[in-house]
Subunit: 434 residues, 2 copies
């Protein structure tokens, strides 16, 4: 069978990785796919550099549209990122009746509904395994592996940069700023790390996972997002003492009244597998009503792991490109006419347990007053400890039982006004998971 022809948009880290994977494992891939997968065209900024990598047999151009519209190209692989040019190129590829493989989570989290609708209309595939958790086949697991289940919730470490930073902060006792600087030196964090450390990248990915799990449209703008840049070293140490580790989790859960969709630092019990995912690794815990909890672990970023997912998509698309669209898996796991309009809940309606830390005047009655406020809004305390912090002050830490976040907000509003509370109240969420 003649090779299938791929047009590569972008030859950066993941694009270069895709070239390497397709070249190095060409034979192994063809043994599986039943035909060879060949890059026939690349669109890049630096044509000389590209030429040195891909040789003379491949069309090299600076014009992405030339690749997208090229009659020989069967599948367009978009790896330039961003949501302007990438969006135009993908929409044009779809309009040309070409299948698309992309790693662009930001684009799909924001414009996925439009892109998938256009692809469905045109009868082409838009595959995006590489957009979430790099080399881990998590999209395939949720979309195809767990189809027998009503998925109840999922929670994932889906940003390697922040997991690396949190791992180092804990194991070496260093503050956030120092570890971030080191992560930048090592290439684990970008020069502008905002998207990673503020949780935006994780929220892009979580948005896609929630759609696949529950059959809801992508709704990035509804996600609650908190990053780790204001996380204090002492909270990591306190959590450790209480038997928890702090991880930046993307969590989505189906409740009777709506969908929780949130990214934030989370205390996770130390014996939980997720708590033991260290360094830049990723892992996603998915709970289905029939299968129970399942976990998927691996490298969530990097040249070759991400390219592994791109190429797995290429193999899938190669197999199914000539098939009837009805033989393919729907983009967002559910048939387009069977999507769910269950709303995403505001963060105040989320249910969680909470870690609260505050510095107070060390005198009788303080604990009673705070406990009374928590009790009056219906929050029950799971455990508490207090330690002197000098100057006749003490740090008090509460772990609450599960509560509605709105109730916690109401309590904190009152606690913050108490004269004997000398600091702001640090509030972190606690999830027992499995």
């Amino acid at each position: 069978m003649s090779p299938i022809k791929v047009g590569l948009l972008g030859l950066g880290v993941v694009g270069g990785g895709t070239w390497k994977v397709l070249t190095r494992n060409a034979e192994e891939i063809a043994r599986r796919a039943g035909r060879r997968i060949e890059v026939a065209a690349v669109a890049v900024r630096d044509m000389d550099k590209a030429r040195r990598l891909v040789g003379d047999q491949v069309l090299v151009t600076q014009d992405g549209m030339e690749v997208v519209r090229h009659p020989d190209i069967d599948i367009v692989v978009e790896l330039i990122g961003g949501d302007t040019l990438a969006r135009e190129l993908i929409m044009e590829a779809i309009a040309q009746g070409k299948h698309v493989v992309t790693a662009n989570k930001a684009l799909l989290a924001k414009h996925g509904n439009e892109i998938f609708a256009a692809a469905h209309e045109k009868g082409v595939m838009v595959a995006f395994e590489a957009a979430v958790a790099g080399g881990i086949p998590i999209i395939k697991a949720i979309r195809e592996g767990l189809t027998a289940n009503r998925i109840q919730w999922l929670a994932g470490i889906i940003n390697g940069t922040t997991n690396f930073i949190l791992s180092e902060m804990r194991s070496r006792g260093l503050p956030f700023g120092d570890v971030l600087a080191e992560a930048q030196r090592l290439g684990y964090a970008e020069a502008d790390p905002t998207f990673d450390i503020e949780g935006v990248d994780a929220a892009h990915k979580l948005t896609l996972l929630a759609s696949l799990a529950f059959g809801i449209p992508v709704q990035f703008d509804k996600a609650h997002i908190e990053g780790i840049s204001s996380l204090a070293q002492e909270d990591i140490a306190h959590a450790e003492r209480l038997g928890y580790r702090i991880k930046l989790l993307g969590i989505t859960r189906r409740r009777a009244d709506g969908i929780e969709l949130r990214v934030h630092p989370t205390l996770v019990p130390m014996e939980c597998l997720l708590a033991n995912v260290e360094g830049a690794m990723n892992a996603v815990l998915v709970s289905g009503d029939m299968v129970g909890p399942t976990l998927y672990y691996g490298q969530g970023a990097g040249e070759l792991p991400t390219a592994s997912a791109v190429v797995a998509d290429l193999v899938d698309v190669t197999r199914l490109q000539a098939a009837d669209p009805e033989h393919r898996v729907p983009h967002l796991a559910f048939q387009p006419d069977a999507m769910d309009d269950t709303p995403v809940l505001p963060i105040s309606e989320v249910h969680s347990s909470y870690y609260l830390r505050m510095r107070v005047q060390d005198r009788p009655g303080v604990l009673a007053d705070i406990s009374r406020i928590l009790s009056e809004v219906g929050i029950s305390i799971g455990s508490m400890f207090q330690q002197p912090s000098g100057d006749a002050q003490a740090d008090i830490i509460f772990l609450t039982h599960e509560a509605r976040e709105g109730s916690i907000d109401a309590a904190l509003l009152r606690i913050r006004t108490l004269a004997f509370v000398h600091s702001d109240v640090t509030r972190l969420r606690v999830e027992s998971l499995i």
Copy 2:
């Protein structure tokens, strides 16, 4: 679209679970599959009991062939187990041009080559996600998720019974026999537990995983199999002290000269995720050359988790049943004309590190003599400890660096003849994994 019609052979634990999953999640499944999946016929021993479960709309018979040959049935689900009647029914289903879903690892490990060849010939699918690691979509992950990789090795906890027993032996310090009896009371072990505790069930599953990973035919008869029934409590304790846990692993690895295929108790470093998989849970670690290590975790057995995998296969088959065979994933991941004939290595050619324990006379020179023997066959010692065991005797434990198993055998042959060695030598394998 009209429902697809399923014939269920067997309504025991997994068959009953499959009925429950299809019934309880009928709507969620249809939202994904695009059409309903209906059980139209069941073949069972106890027809009255079956009738009470499935009602009047379903054909109930004691004759499996009636289901297999029924013109209304599109997909046959074989859940009766064993390799005589199950084999005949599956072969007849294929001959009738029907797709098959099965959880029967014993059958596929022994007769998979013949069954898959017949299915390929006839252009039908034989899906078997439920045959390995229950609800974990591990077959999909290897067969479709990691297609970009040359898979290097995989190691899995793929038998829940033995993992439960080992977890209890370690955490409660109890001997094998006591824990087995308790596992039988709890339903984690069968009345005749031989297949589980002697590693045969794990070897069936490993045989299938090795084929999917490397594109080799199924070769159960080449697997090296050791169970846990002779594992001493004291080795679990010694391992713990050395920073390891003992797990029954199925391990398969591609080496230059052949494929390792082995099931045995294995010392795994405590910080490794696999070492922390406790109770009846399963997990498989798969390492690809591009993606690096990936791990898949979940419930490996039980009514609903296993049925979750059966139904996931039903959804896949429903989607692709009208597609050209070339649009489907090959049964053993690789195209039938691209299978690999790399031989499975005998256990003497396997490479591993080793844990050796022996009781010796506690006098000068003993350690020197043993060390010399190990050194003469080229085995280097990683660490050693000795503890007195009373009566002027001592227990010596060696951890070796990686060595060829044949060299270890040669050394043990000589060590066993030494007059000052008062016990047999316990030999366990040690794998660092990741």
